[in-house]
Amino acid sequence: MALSGMRGLSVFISDIRNCQNKEQERLRVDKELGNIRTRFKSEKLLTSGRAVSVDFVDHSGGSGVEMYGFKIRRRGALTLIKVRMSNSQQCELMMALRGHSFFTALKYIWLNDVEFDRTLNGKGLCGKLWYGLTHYEKKKYVWKMLYIHMLGYDVDFGHMEAVSLISAPKYPEKQVGYIVTSSLLNENHDFLRLAINTVRNDIIGRNETFQCLALTMVGNIGGREFAESLAPDVQKLLISSSCRPLVRKKAALCLLRLYRKNPDVVNIDGWADRMAQLLDERDLGVLTSSTSLLVALVSNNHEAYWSCLPKCVKILERLARNQDIPQEYTYYGIPSPWLQVKAMRALQYFPTIEDPNVRRSLFEVLQRILMGTDVVKNVNKNNASHAVLFEALALVMHLDAEKEMMSQCVALLGKFIAVREPNIRYLGLENMSRMLMVTDVQDIIKRHQAQIITSLKDPDISIRRRALDLLYGMCDVSNAKDIVEELLQYLSAADFAMREELSLKAAILAEKFAPDLSWYVDVILQLIDKAGDFVSDDIWFRVVQFVTNNEDLQPYAAAKAREYLDKPAIHETMVKVSAYLLGEYSHLLVRRPGCSPKEIFSVIHEKLPTVSTTTIPILLSTYAKILMHTQPADPELQKIVWAIFSKYESCIDVEIQQRAVEYFALSRKGAALMDILAEMPKFPERQSALLKKAEDAEIDSAEQSAIKLRAQQQTSNALVVTDQRPANGTPQIVGELSLVKIPSMSDDHTSADQGLSQANGTLTTVDPQPASGDLLGDLLGPLAIEGPPGAVQSEPNAVSGLEGVPSSADYAAIVPVGEQTNTVQPIGNINERFYALCLKDSGVLYEDPNIQIGIKAEWRAHQGRLVLFLGNKNTSPLVSVQALILPPVHLKIEISLVPETIPPRAQVQCPLELMNLHPSRDVAVLDFSYKFGTNMVNVKLRLPAVLNKFLQPISVSAEEFFPQWRSLSGPPLKLQEVVRGVRPLSLIEMTNLFNSLRLTVCLGLDPNPNNLVASTTFYSESTRPMLCLIRIETDPADLTQLRMTVASGDPTLTIELKEFIKEQLVSIPTASRPPAPAPPAAQPTTPAALTDPGALLAGLL
């Protein structure tokens, strides 16, 4: 392994071996690392030292020799390096220089064996580069590094040496370079990018061994840049008839990697046929690799690869019949189980099999697998045959086979979940859960409930998790009580790793399938009691919502809460929920023993010393409410409570302090108190936040799950069914609650779909719209607040903190490109300028001491014309000017040529043509750079070609608005969201903002004066002009939150528009921000002129 003759390495390893303890070993390793570091001194020389300025000068000078020179300023001395480069190298080097430091460029030169002009450079920096280590020496040190890395020490230098070995001409060095690079680096390392050229040369070269090395490295650590520059070459190797299977199988997987990094590198039109041809391959190694590639391709786009479907079936037949399978490809007598699994996996991405012949032969194969797999003694054989069997089961489920085969599957699974062999039992449970997602087998699976519950108590956590998943999936109204109670019982014994999931799932099931609401309250309170630490806030918010919305439930809940308070030690969450419930409803209990206001107060107040600051505000509200409900007033109680309020008036926690002050003042007002502290209004119905949480547990896999894809197709049906629910009057309770109150309704025609959507967690899309006859039914609902108000206020703007206001750092439009280039500071706030330009069509986009970029735009339907005005503010020219547009996928942008030099005090115009292809709120970025003196300045600026520019204001009347509003009845066409952390705006300000966003506010449509309704038309190439309707419900009491509903005829448009408006509402720069730093006196800029780039630039000229 290229190691012969390495004495030093052997000595080092034997030293390490002789170390008596870890400390000695570390010392020895440190010493060796130090040694290697000195050896790699050229690297050290390069990366140390002060900033270096570089001047890229053409030294060809008509001499016919392509020489280019760099001037390097290092420690005051000027050195000139001359290099000889080909054109492509020159381009790459230019890019390296533009985006990176000068060092990167030098590394590039070094790694790519660019020829230096030695005579001119003497012994300085370049001498080091030129006379660097030999490949042999490098190899030696690089091996040591890998060894040290293996021992678990960090090796954070010498990466460049490893990479540079790749370009060694001889196999032993090259091999070491590739092995060590693959082990030490990952795709995000800069050095790798610099080696692309060398790697490419190995791939397209004639040396098979080098091809294999290169393909292996790219396949294992290739990144996006590799994908873009190497994909065509790799494709060529894969289909080449002159390459050995050895190379082709590597090429197939290498291409798979590149495709995963960037799916665009495989051109579907041309490739589908080639792919089908590849599946005719005789060599099973190539076939195995190609099938993996196919799985990735079809998971993204099965339509293009229809022609591969019969080929996959053919492969399966060949394997199943053991036809023409070389002995070496059978594993314990089974013809390549892996290839069988892969082929069946690929088939699961095709929705159906239309050709009856193909279908028949596939089912024959599947039948054979289902029937012919027996349990055998040999573990390996057993595993391999069951690997095939389980994949076949998945495929049968997917293909919705004749009922006979499906029941065969269920029978098999039923057998599996009862066996002792843990792996098989695990897979039996897992596949049963999957089966629930795709077919209606709930009734059959219910027969195994007892068995599944046994698995919930298995010592192996992996099995317990699967059992929990399955129980969760199979739960419905009929067995909810049993299952939930089983989960509750198990909760106390469950390990910590599972408790949170367990309590979340129990809470969801209790809510969804409760036979009566008091049971639901019982379950949640038990949950909090048993596993308070694992009960998230959402769970108790939800129970409060239920109780608030159901009057019958209130006395019961209050009584229960009172009971729990008597327990000696209760969880803080229990304190919160009990305090809240008793604050609201304890007056309903007055006649009961131990429930006088005073008693209730003292039992709650006992808990106060034990709780944290987030709970105290809730307790204070409770005290205020108890006080208010005490009629006639009890002076003694009043005195105590007032004392508490005044104690907290000086609390350091603002929330507590504010409440104490306010309640104290309010409670002295007597009768007025009644209104303010009256019972909380009902909560508007909304989807359970818990479900959303359960859905958020997304899986992260290389390919999308076939089952999930399929289930998604099916939920669209579920949507239709839900919408067809009869409008029986105006049900107060809808959605999750309707399942509780009117279970019969959901039983007959929605249960299957409900089951489906629960199981894969897509219930969001089944957001129940009130099917009421009331025109403005949902328009008139009160403002939505997710939890009890106390809790919401105690965590201000939790939402906005997460996803709302982008911090200025995140969006900083100027991106420093390297230490050398960061010397020019922009004038004014780039973000503010961008936001201003989103609302108007001309203005300044960017300004610094050297240049000003103005913008003027015209928009027509889905097209736009934008002119950039580049004005040089100096008396010397700006050179190397470059403007690149990085367009998002939805915009087609054409930019005309930008002159490389802008003369002194001149202004250059640069027009851009834009076309909007489809709705998206991504932003195009202008990558602008120029050179002034020795400074390279590079800025990345967002272009104000944002979504609202493609809107056309339109005013609609009530007659037009309401039918539209109603016909867009729910997700995904109509979406609603509560937005928090909104910049407070008065209604008039918001109207103005909307109008400037080209959303026409239609006055008088909404009967509630605090609400705002707007309409607009959206234009893009892919959609016809789309009418969009927006409704904002504000809360005059709290301007930082509002509820927004957006509807349009296109789901993407709805979501993009909603998010766009949200961004505008939360992140507009406020006028109160500190003014932008004043520009240097040399360039007087009047604020008025700022608004008009033309005027400003004219002034400069």
């Binding site: 678990g152 082990s183 995000n188 099973l284 070496e328 896999s701």
Partner: protein
Amino acid sequence: MIRFILLQNRQGKTRLAKYYVPLEDSEKHKVEYEVHRLVVNRDPKFTNFVEFRTHKVIYRRYAGLFFALCVDITDNELAYLECIHLFVEILDHFFSNVCELDLVFNFHKINYFITSPSKGIHRPHIGSDDSPHMRTLACVYLILDEFILAGELQETSKRAIIERMGELEKLE
């Protein structure tokens, strides 16, 4: 898709690690530590599958060595479990017994290995002053690269891999 492959001994020393997803070194150390913690104390009667973050670890123990593959939640568990075994069979071919691998990697006990002649007759040629550890290490990496690429199985024929290794040896 295989995210990474780990070969660890019972003490948690990582003998071989191969990552098919980009991770920083610090993250790798963390992952290795966590995976070890996850599998080391599991009863032999338990399943060979454990959930790990948003993925799944398929592991198998051979004497003192744990082989662990981290794969997607949706992947076929048993197929990967046997993939480990196939890999072990291939390694067995070169090292006569995988348990020996731990010995080779276990530098403190290496004297034993050097003084008692190994049965690993198929092992590629060893130079006079060659380092057996590095040879083993490089050899395992090369075998792995012929077996798995880009996180997917490349070759399932033992013979094909053994022949390929022979070819590579001749190149030196």
